[in-house]
Symmetry: C2
Subunit: 190 residues, 2 copies
Amino acid sequence: MFQFTAVEERAERIIESAVALAEKGGFEAVRLRDVASDAGVALGTLYRHFHSKEDLLVAALAAEVTTLEDYLSSNPARGVNPIDRVVSVFAVATSGMCRRPRLAQAILKSVASANPNLTEQVAAFHGRIAALTDTALHGPETESNGNDHSAEALVLQQVWFASLVGWAGGLHDQEAVVSKVRVAAGFVLS
Amino acid sequence: MFQFTAVEERAERIIESAVALAEKGGFEAVRLRDVASDAGVALGTLYRHFHSKEDLLVAALAAEVTTLEDYLSSNPARGVNPIDRVVSVFAVATSGMCRRPRLAQAILKSVASANPNLTEQVAAFHGRIAALTDTALHGPETESNGNDHSAEALVLQQVWFASLVGWAGGLHDQEAVVSKVRVAAGFVLS
DNA sequence: CGGTAAATTGAAACACGTTACAGCCGTAAA
DNA sequence: TTTACGGCTGTAACGTGTTTCAATTTACCG
């Protein structure tokens, strides 16, 4: 019988174990032997579901984005000003990342690892963030099924991503991430 | 006697060997045992000069930025339009990276690795790029010795960096990197 | 020249991502 | 029930980043 759950229960347990380890010790603490044993799974099984450590952490990111989408769907950005709305979306997303700094560092390192095997998942991540941004800008009625996002959304997303990577590398703090997005939003939405 | 060369001759040979290996096979091909033997140096010596593989590749980036600075100093961006000037600077920088894709991938992975030991060097890199951008925008007379760069320059730099990381990950091609910077420049310099 | 401190060497060892594989188990078909 | 098959387990092995260290070389000072 087919399983119609989004991800198999086993894969989900693996992701949860990886997240728990990453929260405590970041990228290096996610030792795949530990992940497997914490999830009650053999190492070979982990590698059957995820091609690499980075693949696993990017899958964890996908789960995080889902909860972000759910939150924003229940609590859409308020405000008459598009700038306020879009900045508040990025503020929520940033706060979600910075709440668990070590997990965020591990995930960002994986996303930015330039691994060609992750292109599809990384593109999907960017697409989902751009969709959230477009919703904040133009409202949910502008349904874009594909990857046609507004130039404004793409620019803001790039600024946000680069700032997050900078934050993960210790260049600046969480507040600066949101501040940089706000500055960019001021330029883009004039 | 003190050596007043920017980097010691030994360290320079190590960087050159790492660059040669990275050009051929990217990040994974930079096996530090190979780097050391190619440079005619023991592994311990390599680790005396560079704390990690990423540290070494970020040092290679610093050398690349120096040649970019030299080029732009001899060939400053022409054009009466600030947008044209700043886009051409990023086009030159992008082309310099994309000319050796595997080296660029290795370097970008290192820069984006969120390693707290590299904060200083990564900040220096961003500062030098921002300085080049500001020179293209406002001319070389605006000498900013410190890290006070225009908000426009910082936004464009973030867009450029995020696009480069996307290019390294296979999300889009070299032309798209410059295109994204051009779009952002249109927004920022209105 | 002799002496001292720092740098270098060569090699061993460790940790962890990753791969490979032999045996087991559960399911489904016959 | 028997058979076949696909996933899971446990474990061993390999490669490479990183650390460590004793012995050696180099550079410099008196």
